[in-house]
């Protein structure tokens, strides 16, 4: 093989027609860049949606009290005060599959602090609630088990409350008063945004449920609901059954006055969302690749066809068929490599720029880079090589006469 000589020939041919070389590379740059940009943005969106769904807490089982009937009027689900802290403790103690358990108590209250006041929802919970709800703290700390046991006057507040009461002060260490009971703010929850029903989830104050019951609202043992984290989605049905059995056992022969629900629907939504996003991404990548591929193909086909005469000259003065094929192969590979490299950098750059401009998250995946570069290089080389291969087999006389 006259590899060195042919490489010189190919480089000279590329340099000779800078515009054509640039256009060919441009086809590959756009093909690769478009795929990488689209897939990066799509991947980012997908990750964000999945994170949002996950932030609602996955694999969560909720136990709600049954309904109470007052003067013939049935109160609906959760209206009875039949669920107790003891139920929650029993589940924690006896259901081994439960990863974390927390009772939830809720009451609206006017909260004072920093000379300001704000009506918000006060929650009584166990420290495990952050794990179950997948709701980490933005700053400060969570109350401890010891503080739970001693009904300490400590509170963890949501960002909305933090903003309303402490607009220009660090809320950590500040005092707030709930029903005239002072609490020290020890932590601020990370923002969670609105839930599916348009409620601001950050508009809240979380207290140890012991403090909630004994110091603020004087509830007697009853809770609004109990939340339990299961180790996996698959473990949920069995865990639900165990909880139901335990609670029924605790109630002796009485009618069941509770419901055990899970977030299967949410898990299904998450899976469904993820699947839709993946399909969308695949379609975008496919279309981008197709468009880019057709662009590369057209430029390659046209440029080789218009060079038939050149091939004729080369054949007449002693080039072998394989010299011609090798020349066009090297040209196509050089253009594919340069175009691919610029396309990767450009695609990542564009994705980052869009991300910075619009605040979209982007996620550059290696697989999309590999796919885009591989496909574009294949199209470039195949459609640069095949017509050259055909032209190389032409009679030099015919190739020279080609107009």
């Amino acid at each position: 093989m006259r590899l060195l000589a042919t490489t010189i020939i190919a480089l000279r041919a590329l340099r000779r027609n800078k515009l054509r070389s640039a256009l060919t590379a441009l086809g590959i740059i756009i093909g690769v860049g478009a795929v990488i940009t689209m897939v990066s943005i799509g991947n980012g969106a997908k990750a964000q949606v999945e994170a949002q769904v996950a932030s609602l807490g996955r694999n969560v089982i909720t136990i709600l009290p049954g309904s109470a009937t007052t003067a013939g009027a049935r109160g609906g689900q959760g209206s009875a005060n039949t669920l107790t802290v003891d139920d929650a403790l029993a589940i924690q103690r006896e259901v081994s599959g439960a990863v974390a358990v927390s009772p939830e108590l809720r009451q609206g209250a006017q909260v004072l602090g920093n000379g300001l006041n704000w009506r918000t929802s006060v929650h009584g919970v166990a420290p495990e609630f952050t794990a179950i709800r997948a709701w980490p703290l933005a700053e400060g700390r969570l109350f401890t088990d010891a503080e739970l046991r001693s009904a300490a006057k400590v509170a963890v507040i949501g960002t909305t409350v933090a903003k309303q009461l402490f607009p220009d002060v660090d809320p950590l260490g500040q005092n707030i008063r709930i029903n005239n009971v002072p609490f020290q703010v020890v932590g601020v929850l990370s923002p969670k945004g609105f839930n599916f029903f348009g409620q601001d989830q950050d508009d809240c104050v979380h207290l140890p449920y012991t403090s909630f019951m004994s110091r603020v609202f004087r509830w007697r043992n009853t809770v609004n609901n109990i939340i339990v984290e299961a180790p996996s989605a698959a473990a949920m049905p069995r865990l639900q059954q165990e909880i139901a059995d335990l609670l029924q056992q605790r109630r002796g022969g009485r009618e069941p006055d509770f419901t055990v629900r899970n977030q299967l629907e949410l898990a299904q939504t998450a899976t469904e969302t993820s699947r839709t996003m993946t399909a969308l991404l695949g379609a975008i990548a496919g279309v981008s690749l197709l468009v880019g591929g057709i662009g590369i193909m057209n430029i390659m086909l046209v440029s080789v066809t218009e060079r038939t005469r050149e091939i004729g000259i080369r054949l007449a003065i002693g080039a072998h068929d394989r010299d011609i094929r090798l020349q066009f192969l090297i040209e196509a590979m050089i253009l594919s490599m340069i175009g691919g490299a610029i396309g990767v950098l450009g695609g990542i750059g564009l994705a980052q720029t869009l991300s910075n401009l619009n605040g979209w998250p982007v996620l550059v995946s290696t697989s999309s880079i590999t796919l885009a570069v591989g496909f574009s290089a294949f199209v470039g080389v195949a459609f640069g090589f095949y017509p050259a291969h055909k032209a190389a087999k032409l009679d030099p006389i015919d190739a020279l006469r080609f107009e």
Partner: protein, 259 residues
């Protein structure tokens, strides 16, 4: 000394569907070193087919062709390509230089396809030498578009010479040139021929053929005349005459000139 070219009963038949076209119907020919031959004939006479056969671009249907003692008929496509590269130089009517490529790189091209490639400095030296022979050493870095037709054809001649071929083939080399430039190019050929290079050219202009040493006339696929040139023209003298005539024309028109 054995002839450079020895054709024996060469025939070439093209099949055009059902129709058989006999382009060459039995030509036998010997060309010796140092000859300068013009092949003349009307279009369709078979002179182009003969030329393509001589140039190893086309294979005869039957007959034998020895080029410098090598039997061309038995060679495959690649071997014929090597033969073209080593033993033949081509000059075309349409110059056929690579566009947007400097004269130097155009002349280097045959060396890039040579079986025994020389170093790039040696390649450049040889290409410059070939350009020097045709008087274009000063224009080595010019692109074809920056050169006149005659200069382009001289670059093409330099390209044909660079591998020191046994035979220089020119297919209507003056077909695209005006008469003065034609004489200049014929002057280049005559100088090369004096240095011992064997030249075969196709032309349909009798006055161009007059610069050669031997004329073959082809008609209906056969050589109908084969004779030495009588009253051969010498390009250098013709050029002097042309310049003299031009000067005379300028003198006579001088009173009306701008100066």
């Amino acid at each position: 000394m054995s002839p450079v070219v020895q054709l024996r009963d060469i025939r070439r038949t093209y099949r055009n569907g059902e129709l058989e076209v006999h382009a060459v119907r039995g030509i036998s020919l010997e060309i010796h070193a140092g000859e300068f031959i013009a092949i003349m004939g009307a279009s369709g006479s078979g002179k182009s087919t003969l030329m393509n056969t001589l140039g190893c671009l086309d294979r005869p249907t039957s007959g034998s062709y020895l080029l410098d003692g090598v039997d061309v008929a038995s060679l495959d496509r690649e071997a014929r390509a090597d033969l073209r590269n080593q033993k033949l130089g081509f000059v075309f009517q349409g110059f056929n230089l690579l566009p947007r490529t400097s004269a130097l790189e155009n002349v280097e091209l045959p060396m890039l396809y040579a079986q025994n490639r020389v170093s790039s400095t040696e390649m450049k030296r040889r290409a410059m030498a070939a350009l020097g022979i045709v008087g274009l050493a000063q224009r080595a870095d010019h692109l074809p578009s920056q050169l006149s037709g005659g200069q382009q054809q001289r670059v093409a001649i330099a390209r044909a010479l660079v591998n020191e071929p046994r035979l220089l083939l020119a297919d209507e080399p003056t077909g695209n040139l005006d008469s003065k430039t034609s004489v200049e190019v014929m002057g280049v050929f005559q100088r090369l021929n004096e240095q011992g290079i064997t030249i075969v050219m196709v032309t349909h202009e009798l006055d161009i053929a007059q610069y050669c040493k031997r004329i073959l006339v082809v008609r209906d696929g056969l050589v109908v005349r084969d004779e030495p040139v009588t009253g051969r023209l010498i390009a250098a003298e013709e050029l002097k005459k042309l310049l003299g005539a031009e000067a005379a024309a300028q003198l006579t028109s001088a009173p009306f000139g701008a100066k």
